[in-house]
């Protein structure tokens, strides 16, 4: 159960080696005892994350999870909730995909769509049903500012995040009064593994900063959080720029 001061007893991380997801787990673990379920594609990184969390005192369970295998999601979510209530679930899997390659190779484009949108909808619905049944829980969905207005250089990724953002926002509204809280997180450029080959954009942030913002937003029952917070106003302005002008921006 979530404590009155917003400390959970269990966290499910979907995308078990996600840097932002693990940063969220780390912060909760620093504040109290925690049961962690890491669901992710088996890898050295996932194993290392599980070992590190266990050493830090967490009770860790690892579940193999391939987001693109939509048919496996039902069983995965059942297993994730089998060990007891899940207080916070973080939907943190996703791929960036190289825009130029994806425009040429349909398979790559569809993989980005499958992972970032279709799989997220599938797992998001299953987790929200399980939380509705247990009568409480928080679902954190990692969206992106890239979904706010698609850019020429990154519109495939942007379009999947736009879809995910719309889905999660609507899901949150549909769950009002059910005891289940959906938080949509819109980070800007996050400096990390996913973006190490890219030049940081203005107002870039870090996984740790996103985690801090997520914890604060969950505590105060917010439904949307921008990281950094100033992006909300920047994007609000960008959203209203005329298209010919927006296209010419070096974004």
């Amino acid at each position: 159960m979530m404590s009155s001061l917003g400390q959970p007893q269990s966290v499910l991380l979907l995308g078990g080696s996600s840097e932002i997801g693990l940063a969220i787990v780390d912060r909760y673990l620093a504040a109290g005892a925690l049961r962690v379920v890491l669901a992710g594609r088996p890898s050295d990184r996932l194993t290392a994350a599980a070992e590190r969390l266990a050493t830090a005192g967490a009770t860790v369970e690892v579940l193999p999870f391939d987001a693109t295998e939509l048919r496996s999601h039902g069983e995965l979510v059942t297993r994730a909730f089998a060990g007891g209530d899940i207080d916070v679930a973080v939907l943190a899997f996703g791929v960036l995909g190289d825009q130029a390659t994806a425009e040429r190779e349909l398979a790559l484009a569809m993989e980005v769509v499958q992972t970032n949108y279709a799989a997220a909808v599938s797992v998001g619905l299953l987790v929200s049903q399980a939380m509705r049944a247990q009568g409480h829980g928080a679902l954190v969905v990692l969206s992106s500012v890239a979904g706010e207005r698609p850019r020429r250089s990154n519109f495939l990724y942007g379009s999947t995040k736009a879809g995910l953002d719309a889905f999660a926002t609507g899901l949150g509204d549909s769950l009002l009064g059910s005891g289940v809280h959906v938080l949509v997180v819109r980070p800007g450029f996050v400096r990390g593994r996913m973006t190490e080959h890219l030049e940081p954009a203005p107002l870039s942030t870090t996984p740790e900063a996103v985690a801090v913002a997520v914890l604060a937003a969950l505590r105060s029952q917010k439904q949307t959080v921008w990281v950094p917070g100033s992006l909300r106003f920047v994007m609000s302005a960008l959203r209203h720029l005329p298209r010919p002008l927006f296209r010419r921006l070096p974004l």
Binding site: S4, L5, G6, Q9, A33, G135, H136, G177, G179
Partner: protein
């Protein structure tokens, strides 16, 4: 699932959803218990527990307030038998003009008899009269098998139920010994105390002379005034202390104010609480003796403001109540110094000396000192401050009050309640599959 309701404690933190089922008879309770699903069931009275004791996420919550008949009331002996959903407010309304007052009352009249048993509530008279369970002559309990049992203080299940947070079964009836009073007034002495040592010293020296004793402490006072406070102590007024024309047993309290359900957060911040505390301290007489007050004003000042918990805004507040044994008294001093230094804006900080505890393995009171705080959840660093208080309380051999808790880490429970195994043995005998479940029991693995 459309019949689900969001339920929270009085502190309004951590709401969860459950099916809320009103019950009118013990048979209703029995049927509901037998039909309880995998998420279990718990009884809920008037929802005055601050934390998560009367909610059961995904399960069934019985609304007991519709089970509220009075079955018998003996005007000669003051013994009353009533359904568990009856409130102390309704009970007083009936009994007081016959010269009978409840044996123990908390800071609000709006608690049910069943809740009073389950939390084994205490009041300002704990140092002389003990807690609520000690005045219960018999009670009826619907257990996990659906049967209704009659229990007396000779049964270990009786004492597992007193303070058992509703986890041994559903209390359906209570037979209670009331206290004889000549009037519905209290004769009160008020004193200001310059600092915490002064407050405690006056309590140690004078409490035995009073039926009721409590001190309000200013947690935002600093330096030499750290822990300054106002003691209010009293006893029931005698008939001859009232003017001849007065109706000695009149009782007609009214809620004159109402806080709307939507108040912006942050109204209670350090500056406003500090200002309130200053006024509260200054307005108290340096020393006043023999002031005659109404019962409601003395015992239940906040009942005059309906929905006062809304003042804390949408994020709610937490209560933290600790008790430490006499030998651990330094923990109270350390706690006050710590809270003072952290500038935590608690405005209803109450200090009291408890008398001995009772046989209930999960009953909260023990001989020593109890300190209760209420704090807006938004205070920066609050979680860490309360974690440190836990450590202090543990080191001093004390505990926190489960009826107010919604944050205690579960690993602290066995040390705070050393008789937990004894309680579990009784509970597991009558409810092996843990039909009776609440968010509190789930959070603490009770």
């Amino acid at each position: 699932m459309s019949d689900r309701r969001l339920l929270a404690g009085w502190g309004r933190t951590s709401p969860t959803s459950a099916r809320l089922l009103p019950v009118g008879t013990a048979e209703d309770v029995s049927l509901a218990v037998q039909a309880a699903g995998p998420r279990g069931l718990v009884a809920r009275g008037l929802g005055r527990s601050y934390g998560d004791a009367a909610q059961d996420a995904g399960g069934v919550v019985l609304d007991m307030t519709t089970l509220c008949r009075v079955h018998s009331f003996d005007h000669e002996t003051g013994v009353v038998e009533a359904d568990a959903g009856l409130s102390l407010h309704a009970l007083m309304g009936m009994s007081l003009h016959e010269g009978w007052f409840v044996p123990v009352t908390p800071g609000t009249r709006f608690v049910t008899l069943g809740g009073a048993v389950a939390a084994d509530i205490h009041g300002k008279n704990h140092h002389v009269d003990g807690s609520f369970g000690q005045h219960v002559l018999e009670l009826s309990l619907v257990t996990a098998d659906g049967g209704e049992r009659r229990l007396s203080p000779a049964d270990d299940l009786f004492w597992a139920t007193v303070g058992g947070m509703g986890l041994t079964g559903v209390v359906t009836r209570v037979r209670l010994q009331l206290r004889a009073v000549e009037t519905s007034r209290v004769t009160v002495d008020t004193e200001r105390a310059a600092d915490l040592d002064d407050v405690m010293d006056r309590m140690v020296r004078g409490d035995a002379d009073y039926t009721y004793s409590v001190a309000w402490v200013d947690l935002l006072a600093r330096g030499r005034a750290t822990g300054r406070g106002v003691l209010t102590r009293g006893r029931h007024s005698r008939r001859d202390e009232l003017p001849a024309s007065a109706d000695p047993l009149s009782f007609a309290p009214r809620a004159s104010l109402r806080v709307p359900p939507i108040v912006p957060g942050g109204l209670l911040r350090r500056s406003t609480v500090a200002a309130f505390n200053e006024v509260w301290f200054r307005k108290a007489p340096r020393a006043a003796r023999g002031q005659v007050q109404g019962l409601a004003g003395f015992f239940h000042p906040l009942d005059g403001v309906a929905g006062w918990n809304n003042v804390y805004g949408p994020r709610g507040f937490v209560q933290y109540q600790l008790v430490v044994p006499e030998k651990g008294v330094d923990a109270v001093r350390t706690a006050v110094t710590l809270l003072s230094a952290a500038r935590t804006p608690s405005f209803l900080t109450v200090l009291k000396r408890f008398g001995p505890g009772n046989r209930g393995p999960l009953s909260f009171p023990m001989a020593g000192w109890t300190l209760a705080l209420d704090l807006p959840t938004g205070v920066p660093g609050l979680a860490a401050v309360l974690d440190r208080l836990d450590e202090l309380v543990l080191a001093a051999g004390g505990r926190v009050y489960l009826a107010k808790d919604a944050r205690l880490p579960r690993e602290h429970l066995p040390a705070m309640y050393p008789r937990l195994p004894e309680w579990r043995a009784v509970r597991d005998r009558v409810d092996p599959h843990h039909v009776f479940t609440s968010d509190l029991s789930r959070r603490l693995s009770l």
